[in-house]
């Protein structure tokens, strides 16, 4: 029988091949079952290709932003709120890929790999499938109104907890009456993109916050050094200019007045590799995960840049791009003593509340650097942007007016945070082709922050 024992191994080999097939199927199942289950023909979840029932999406105060009942989708009662939170919630046809209806589909439909599509009781299951957002509908509405139909984005988050209060992207539309987007391609340019999460813009002078951090850490005489600005300087044949000559300025004043000439000099003594390191640390060239939604990644690459190009890169031009949310997170880390708390839009549960203090934090800047930079940003407001405009907010900020081409108005940036224990909020405002950062984006930020302060107290 030894002979046949050996020959019988073919059967064993066949069994192993089939076992392997089962393993392959199981791996595929674990990986893709969540996709298979959302096919519109799945009668466990859909009737007439519409989701039958979903959990409800609430904002931080319990306002109902979205729900599905008996196959019909229902959004917030107020049209402006619907429009303002459109990019967070998503539209009916799932065109907005980062919207909650797509990103949290599993949670909303109640499917999970253990229980499948089983629900104990249709009505009771709603509680389990509900989604509580950290968003504040009122603040979002204020932000949308403040943008006045201009294209751009507004983001506000709590730099201590990471909770996003405001996420608004414009242009937008009312999801209950979706317009014919094709009919007006200029007006609805990129309407399905959540600009806070998925857009990248030239940062302009706002980027000086990154360069300044590098300078504070690496240039020993930065506190005493006086830079001289004639309004322009020639670096290896490339002109670096300021709108007006600033004369003799300290580094602090250079940031406040956004003096390109002084910064160009500082950057050249820092060198390309220093600038690259600090850019990477500030979150450029990588994306963030906002509760599982991947943001776009900003870009800074100065490996080939030298001289004038390097100088322009250090003041946020060259070919730098920044994602608004990632940049807001960097500003948040300045506010939070150099520690970045990853932004999120889902209210935590008990488990995440326990692990977030450990996992969601990352030190980006040293405590001293963050404090120094913060003081300089506070000075910016007091000396240049006008404390009177932001009375009581204890605002620390930096503007940016990003050049995007000869015939186009620059993008207006305004980033910063409130240095208040009761309202630890950081923000970003971008108005596309809006013009001057502090004059255009600043007032938007002011309105949104006041609304947020009201809402928090």
């Amino acid at each position: 029988m030894k002979l046949l024992t050996r020959r019988a191994l073919v059967v064993l080999v066949l069994s192993i091949i089939i076992l392997l097939g089962l393993v392959i199927f199981t791996i595929g199942y674990i990986r893709d079952a969540s996709t298979w289950v959302t096919h519109a023909s799945n009668r466990h979840l859909y009737t007439n290709a519409q989701l039958m029932e979903t959990g409800t999406i609430y904002d931080r105060k319990g306002e109902i932003l979205f729900q599905t009942r008996d196959g019909a989708k229902k959004y917030h009662d107020n049209k402006t709120v619907r429009t303002a939170v459109l990019h967070t919630i998503g539209d009916t046809n799932d065109n907005i890929a980062t919207g909650a209806q797509v990103a949290f589909k599993e949670k909303l439909t109640g499917w999970n790999i253990v229980s499948g599509a089983y629900r104990f009781n249709q009505r009771l299951s709603h509680f389990k499938n509900d989604l509580h957002l950290t968003l504040d509908a009122d603040v979002c509405m204020t932000a949308y109104n403040a943008l006045k139909g201009r294209k751009g984005t507004v983001g506000v988050y709590n730099y201590k907890t990471g909770e996003i209060l405001c996420m608004v992207s414009s242009p937008s539309f009312d999801p209950e009456n979706p317009p014919d987007v094709q009919a007006d391609p200029v007006k609805f340019e990129g309407v399905y993109i959540n600009r806070l999460l998925s857009a990248t813009y030239t940062p302009g002078s706002a980027f000086k916050l990154v360069t300044a951090a590098a300078a504070i850490d690496n240039l020993e005489d930065i506190d005493t050094r006086i830079y001289h600005c004639d309004g322009k300087t020639n670096i290896d044949g490339v002109m670096v200019t300021c709108p007006t000559p600033h004369g003799d300025v300290s580094f602090e004043q250079a940031l406040a007045h956004s003096c390109n000439v002084a910064f160009a000099e500082a950057i050249l003594s820092l060198g390309a590799s220093n600038l690259q390191d600090y850019s990477d640390m500030a979150g450029f060239n990588s994306s963030l995960m906002v509760d599982g939604i991947r943001t776009a990644a900003g870009k800074v690459n100065v490996s080939d840049a030298a001289g004038g190009d390097l100088a322009w890169a250090g003041i946020g031009q060259y070919d730098n791009t920044a994602n608004p949310l990632c940049f807001m997170a960097y500003v948040g880390s300045i506010a939070n003593e150099g520690v970045s708390v990853s932004p999120g839009i889902l209210k935590g549960n008990i488990f995440s509340a326990l692990i977030k203090p450990v996992t969601g934090k990352k030190r980006i800047l040293s405590e001293e650097t963050a404090e120094k930079l913060g003081n300089m940003m506070r000075k910016n407001v007091i000396d240049v942007y006008g404390e009177g405009n932001y009375q009581g907010l204890k605002l620390c900020a930096k503007s940016g007016t990003a050049q995007v081409g000869e015939d186009k108005a620059p993008h207006a940036w305004f980033v910063g945070y409130m240095d208040r224990e009761d309202c630890p909020l950081a923000f970003v405002v971008v108005v596309e082709n809006g013009g001057s950062g502090s004059k255009v984006a600043g007032p938007v930020a002011e309105k949104v922050l006041r609304s947020a302060v009201n809402s928090m107290n």
Partner: protein
């Protein structure tokens, strides 16, 4: 520090929110029915039971212990006694002989000593040195009596009967044996009852208003059947019963599937299971005697050829294949039954195995079956037959080269078939890209995947699935159906049990009484394996979809009877007695 305080604060808020939710829920509780609560709890029980039953059946069967029955001895004069542990023992110089005699004048495979109906015979396998019994040269074979001398080219032995009856050798119990000792078959059977009864109640509940108490009766009748089989076997034999327990478990799943998909066929299916068990017992008894089994082989092959001709002439076309015969009061699929004869046809006893490399007759029979299947347009079954043919042919000849030729020939043939038959080509076109054709040629596969995903690990509960509305859900897509209603774990266990049948067949080889049983067991195992692979992987798009049944689990009477008949071959290869049941008659 402040972070942790803040976390604590958040936790507190969460708890308060949770309590307010519970208060809200209490208001809703009135709408809940008993059947809801039943499913909520019971769906956790099925996977646990399935895994436990699987483990409790598999471990005892896989105990690897030395063969414990000695049928006689070969005594070397004034020296050791060599135990004869099989009914057929090869003797020779080759390392692969059962009794190795390392003397230069002994041929590599010199002789076979075989035991049949109480007497021993010796076969000369055309050795150079020849075989002498009591100093008389034998021509081909000769009966050997107790005390006779056998001389193989001068090497002398004396044949001795075992001391009294077939003798038990002491069992050097391995840790593994001792560990699996503690699994009582009775408890395992009880778990199977529980699984089937709780599942039957769940399906009954799922039917709501239309529920028919007859359904519960069917499940109770099946449980009664299992219990009587168990009691009978435990009283009259001392063999392992776990193999049948596993088959019972699969039949239970089969009843679930039928009850959910085609409830009005469940009584018919129960009858099929009864017939299957009857065939299992009858076939087991018939092939117990090797001489009778050899004769039976020719009867079966003749019967198969008759069926084949009948099928080709009076067969009916259903689902695109002409593979049904209608007798008026019942209809059946002859090709299923022919599988049994096919496995029998491939078997051989050891003397034949070692002397004739010639398997022309078997090749002819296989060619007839596969050719007929292609004519019937039942290509899936043709693949099953071909795979079984390859395995059996290899077991017979041990010649990899021939197998390779056969395979390459088959591949060429398959290419030709695919290019000539458009509906086969479309199956291949959908293969691996079913989502692109989700509503056309990938319809069944995508619905299977959707159903499987909707079930999750625990399943949505028997009778609550939607896959039953898709054509052939209880046959070709049965894996998806089980996955949807009973969960991924139960579905995987179902396939693993069929895989295990094959692994068991292989593990029994070494201690098998005769190659006859060994080849039959491996042939049956090959059919089980290929059917399982084509059915499961076809429905989930790892292979092109074919209309092949999953043994024991798919709906269908002929398929059920055939599965039991094939299992009888694996059972026949298992000659071990349970160590804990010594003293019970055989």
């Amino acid at each position: 520090m402040s972070n942790y305080l803040e976390s604590a604060n958040q936790i507190l808020n969460k708890i308060i929110a949770l309590y307010s939710n519970i208060a809200l829920m209490m208001g809703e509780l009135k709408t809940i029915e008993f059947s809801d609560i039943y499913l909520l709890l019971i769906r956790w029980v099925f996977p646990v039971l399935a895994v436990t039953i699987f483990v409790r059946c598999v471990l005892p069967l896989l105990r690897s212990e030395p063969y414990n029955t000695v049928w006689g001895y070969l005594q070397v004069p004034d020296s050791i006694k060599i135990p004869l542990q099989h009914w057929e023992n090869s003797i020779g110089r080759s390392k692969l002989s059962d009794i190795v005699i390392n003397l230069p004048f002994v041929s590599r495979t010199h002789a076979v000593l075989s035991f049949s109906a109480g007497t021993w015979s010796v076969f000369d396998l055309g050795s150079k040195g020849g075989v002498l019994v009591n100093d008389e040269r034998i021509v081909k074979s000769k009966t050997v009596k107790d005390g006779d001398t056998i001389s193989l080219a001068g090497a002398e032995f004396r044949l001795l009967a075992p001391e009294d009856g077939p003798e038990q050798q002491e069992n050097p119990a391995a840790w593994f044996s001792r560990f699996s000792h503690h699994f009582s078959s009775g408890k395992t059977l009880f778990m199977i009852f529980l699984f089937q009864f709780l599942g039957g109640i769940q399906i009954y509940f799922s039917m709501g208003q239309d529920a028919n108490p007859k359904l519960l009766g069917i499940f109770l009748a099946f449980i009664l059947l299992e219990a009587s089989y168990f009691l009978f076997m435990m009283t009259y034999t001392r063999k392992y019963i776990e193999l049948e327990l596993l088959a019972f478990f699969l039949c239970g799943i089969n009843l679930f599937v039928v009850a959910s998909a085609v409830p009005d066929q469940i009584a018919k299916q129960l009858i099929a299971i009864v017939c299957g068990i009857a065939v299992f017992i009858a076939l087991g008894l018939l092939i117990r005697d090797l001489g009778r089994a050899r004769k039976l082989k020719y009867v079966f092959v003749f019967g198969a050829l008759v069926l084949l001709v009948l099928n080709l002439t009076i067969g009916e076309v259903r689902f695109g294949a002409k593979n049904w015969i209608n007798l008026g009061f019942m209809s059946f699929q002859p090709m299923e039954l022919i599988k049994v004869a096919f496995v029998m046809a491939g078997t051989a006893t050891l003397d034949k195995l070692l002397t004739t490399r010639n398997i022309t007759a078997f090749i002819g029979f296989a060619g007839a079956c596969i050719g007929a299947l292609i004519l019937m347009r039942d290509l899936g079954t043709a693949v099953v037959f071909f795979a079984a043919f390859l395995v059996i042919a290899f077991m017979r000849s041990g010649d990899l080269r021939t197998i390779a030729y056969a395979c390459s020939g088959a591949v060429l043939g398959a290419i030709a078939v695919v290019s000539f038959l458009p509906y086969v080509a479309s199956r291949f076109e959908a293969w691996g890209r079913v989502w692109e054709y989700a509503n056309t040629i990938g319809y069944q596969q995508t619905r299977t995947l959707i159903a499987a995903a909707s079930g999750g690990v625990l399943g949505v509960g028997g009778g609550n699935g939607f896959l039953v509305n898709i054509p052939a859900a209880a046959n070709d897509l049965v894996f998806g159906l089980v996955c949807e209603e009973w969960g991924l774990i139960v579905a995987l266990i179902t396939v693993l049990i069929i895989l295990f049948f094959a692994v068991l067949a292989v593990s029994l080889m070494r201690e098998c009484k005769s190659p006859f049983y060994a080849i039959a067991a491996c042939g049956a195992a090959a059919i089980f394996l290929v059917q399982a692979a084509l059915n499961v992987f076809g429905s989930v798009d790892l292979l092109p979809l074919t209309g092949i049944t999953l043994p024991f689990v798919s709906n269908g009477g002929t398929s059920m009877v055939t599965s039991w008949a094939l299992l009888a071959f694996i059972k026949a290869a298992d000659d071990r007695g349970r160590p804990d049941r010594e003293g019970v008659g055989d």
